[in-house]
Amino acid sequence: MSAELHNRLSVFRAERGMSRRELAEAVGVNPQTIGFLERGEYGPSLVLALRLARVFSVPVEALFALEPFPALGDQLARLSKES
């Protein structure tokens, strides 16, 4: 499952300035599990995915996807061209 699931947890976590420990406490898992999630070595249950989305106030699809997320730099470059 984790081989098919892409995530950008680390991006959102870095934006918020949260450590893995803080995020883990917020969603009720051990800090190591956050590491496994971010590396794509573990796919979360629906409940855990929803909890993570709630922490960052984003839809689940913003955190997890079946296709690779576009690189942040490319997205920003496209947005700045459009504006």
Binding site: V29, T33, F36, Y42, P44, S45
Partner: protein, 152 residues
């Protein structure tokens, strides 16, 4: 206040190194003792020490944090830990069954072809090694599947 269960915290690398030592020592020590390593006496002593250290190492692995993880109630684990532990137990079961089938095969062939078979005390040693190795195996598997904790 609830008493904490006794446990020895081992780092990932320490637990992995210990698991390699335990299974090498259990295998070599108990096979050596069962086969009756005779001369020189120093070799017999070395084999016996290897066997003993393998047994003690297995106990250490069992009471370590990884061993305790394999024994914890599900409510104390997060979903990933439950999944990893379940996979460790499945793999332990598969390895134990394979070892038992291998032993059965050896005994069957050895009886017919006149290969080496342990005596009564050697059999007891091998069974003890199997039991101790099985006891510690879930902890060993958990250690090899874990990652060092790094916080950023």
């Amino acid at each position: 206040m609830m008493a904490r269960p006794f446990q020895i915290h081992l780092s990932v690398h320490a637990a992995r190194a210990l698991s390699v030592f335990v299974y090498a020592a259990l295998l070599l020590g108990n096979l050596g003792v069962a086969a009756g390593v005779p001369e020189p006496p120093l070799a017999a002593l070395a084999v016996a020490l290897l066997k003993l250290s393998g047994l003690l190492g297995a106990v250490l692995l069992f009471v370590s944090s990884y061993g305790q993880l394999s024994q914890k109630a599900e409510r104390e684990l997060d979903e990933r830990e439950v999944a990893v532990r379940n996979r460790a137990y499945v793999l332990t079961h598969q390895i134990m069954v394979a070892a038992l089938l291998g032993a059965f095969l050896w005994v069957t062939l050895a009886t017919k072809l006149g290969w080496w078979l342990p005596g009564a005390s050697g059999t007891a040693d091998l069974i003890t090694a199997f039991a101790m190795g099985s006891m510690a195996l879930p902890a060993a598997i958990l250690a090899w599947r874990d990652r060092p904790l790094s916080d950023d």
